[in-house]
């Protein structure tokens, strides 16, 4: 974990809703693993006391990219960043996804929204190729599918309005695919997206006896484990304990998660 100030290398739109911000951050880049995140100081927002957390989307040599959507004050002022501007970044933070798949298992990525970002980074690092299920409300919410295909991954898309791929939730093509394999399905699931999607996957993983590594999104203060803003209830060694999403997470094995109403933010 370190603090590093890097210049904007490029800043381009990705589809109609998202942007890719690439920063020159040699130190953070060289240590980053998929599923980890960075905590970014939005310099244009002088009065903002909190940094903003973003999953690491790509690492190319000394360049690190994030993929983000303008949803509020911080992300909207990030949109004005131009090549050459300096950005202060804290990272890489948290524990990422495992980057090995146990033998006989087949990697399955499930993404919603910006969830494709950490999963793309993961896809570039996994030794085996598999399938990506990606869901969203409309066609414009579906990102990066061509990039996953270019890496050699199969892509299954679901949109709620049916404007791209199958109509409905992403769990529907996922379930259909599992069924088509009969009892032989041995997926190792990696997921990032809205809580409802993650919980649905967790239920399936529990039933099927599969591992599902999920990345949680929690409002954060410090990002380094100091403030206890980001806690999650998990079961460890038979005991319910509170862990910090920024430090022990954001990636957890889904069956350790204790889902409860008060913990849902998305």
């Amino acid at each position: 974990m370190q603090l590093e100030t890097g210049n904007v290398v490029s800043h381009d739109s990705e589809g109609t809703l998202y942007r890719v911000l690439t920063l020159e951050l040699p130190n953070i880049s060289s240590n980053a693993v998929p599923g980890q995140f960075v905590h970014l100081r939005v310099s244009a927002l002088q009065d903002a006391v909190l940094r903003r957390p973003f999953s690491i989307y790509r690492v190319d040599g000394k360049n690190l990219s994030i993929l983000y959507k303008n949803v509020g004050r911080g992300t909207s002022s990030m949109c004005t960043l131009r090549p050459g501007d300096a950005v202060n970044v804290l990272g890489p933070l948290g524990n990422g996804f495992p980057t090995a798949v146990s033998s006989g298992k087949f990697p399955v990525l499930v993404a919603g929204g910006y969830g494709v970002a950490p999963l793309y980074f993961l896809a570039t690092r996994l030794p085996v190729k598999g399938v990506l299920f990606v869901g969203g409300a409309r066609a414009r919410d579906i990102l990066l599918n061509d990039r996953f295909k270019a890496l050699g991954w199969n892509v299954c898309i679901a949109t709620e309005d049916g404007s791209l791929g199958t109509r409905g939730r992403v769990t529907e093509p996922f379930d259909a695919w599992i069924q088509s394999l009969g009892g032989d399905a041995k997926p190792e699931i990696f997921a990032c997206g809205p809580n409802g999607m993650l919980k649905a996957l967790c239920d399936r993983a529990r039933q099927g006896g599969w591992n599902a590594w999920i990345s949680l999104d929690r409002h954060m203060g410090c990002g380094v484990g100091a403030c206890l803003a980001c806690i999650q209830r998990v079961v460890m060694e038979g005991q319910e304990v509170l862990v910090r999403v920024c430090k022990e997470g954001p990636v957890f094995e889904s069956r350790t998660i204790v889902w409860e109403d008060g913990n849902h933010e998305a």
């Binding site: 974990m1 370190q2 603090l3 100081r41 009065d47 903002a48 006391v49 909190l50 940094r51 202060n88 804290l90 929690r218 409002h219 954060m220 203060g221 410090c222 990002g223 380094v224 484990g225 100091a226 403030c227 206890l228 803003a229 980001c230 806690i231 509170l242 430090k247 008060g262 913990n263 933010e265």
Partner: protein, 304 residues
């Protein structure tokens, strides 16, 4: 001439008067990759209670203009958990360690204090009688003069460590609370804790924090804290530790002029983890520029 930044606060020697505030710096290891802990005046750790405590539900924190509102609810591993898990780490450092303590009753406060008495590496206790985020104890003690006296004197009887009660800002006469602490045996007084506050999501009409209300911290409370430090300094002789909205040396210097012997950086650690180090550097630079040989000469130096 290099100014002397060293201070002796409540009998505790410190390299400089700049600490990190309770709850904003964990127990030390969290920021150790980024901040050289040995450069700090002191580390004030997150509030510790007798038994482990789970704290509030999430969301526990929300950013607002000029600061943030938190309702962590004092989650902590309890006295034994803290001593086992974090004291070995803290002892390997050359920095004063101040343990922030809290309880649900005066007896509990005193019991926690007693457990820390004689624990190697613990230099002083900060008594949190001002947390806005728990129902029993906390702010309920810090906004009532009799309860303040009760807690501080109960703690005083149970420990030989220097004790530093931490005052709530939401009282009508801060001087009276500071005096009550001084009379009950406080060695120093810290102020302020976060200010009771609330934020509502206007779309859902629901409170943003799961705890409904929380405590406001950050730049927004700094001028409030300056005034309270100024008033407390008029009321008591014991040294004051000023807390509230420090983001640079400027606010720290302002606090010292108003009457503080030391300061603590809180929320700004989240924004810029190196804030405390920057404050130390800026303070030294200021003393040089103004030809002030000793940092203590700045304390209570307000010109009216």
């Amino acid at each position: 001439m290099k100014p002397d930044l060293r201070i002796l606060l409540a009998g505790v020697p410190m390299k400089n008067p700049v600490m990190v505030a309770s709850g904003t710096f964990g127990y030390g290891p969290e920021y150790a990759d980024l901040v050289n802990l040995n450069q700090l005046g002191a580390i004030v750790v997150k509030g510790i209670s007798l038994e482990p405590w789970k704290g509030n539900r999430t969301p526990r924190l929300v950013e607002v203009p000029g600061g943030l509102i938190n309702a962590i609810g004092l989650q902590n591993p309890g006295v034994n958990g803290f001593i086992e898990k974090y004291m070995p780490f803290l002892r390997t450092h050359d920095v004063a360690v101040i343990v922030n303590i809290w309880g649900k009753t005066a007896e509990e406060y005193a019991e926690v204090a007693a457990r820390f008495d004689g624990v190697p590496g613990v230099h002083a206790l900060e008594i949190n009688i001002s947390c806005p985020n728990i129902k029993a104890g906390g702010n309920a003690f810090g906004t009532n003069l009799d309860a303040t006296r009760l807690v501080v004197s109960a703690v005083r009887r149970k420990t030989r460590l220097p004790i530093i009660p931490k005052l709530a800002p939401n009282v009508s006469d801060i001087g009276a609370f500071a005096r009550a602490c001084e009379e009950s045996g406080a060695d120093a007084i810290s102020l302020i804790n976060s200010f009771p506050a609330m934020a509502i999501d206007i779309e859902t009409r629901r409170p943003i924090l799961a705890n409904v209300t929380g405590g406001l911290s950050g730049p927004a409370i700094h001028p409030i804290a300056v005034k309270l430090v100024y008033e407390a300094a008029k009321a008591v002789k014991v040294p004051l530790v000023a807390i509230g909205g420090i983001t640079s040396a400027r606010e720290a210097i302002e606090f010292m002029i108003a009457g503080a012997s030391a300061v603590a950086v809180g929320t700004a650690n989240f924004t810029e983890p190196l804030t405390a180090i920057e404050v130390i550097r800026g303070l030294e630079e200021y003393l040089c520029r103004h030809n002030i040989p000793n940092v203590s000469d700045l304390v209570r130096s307000l010109r009216l």
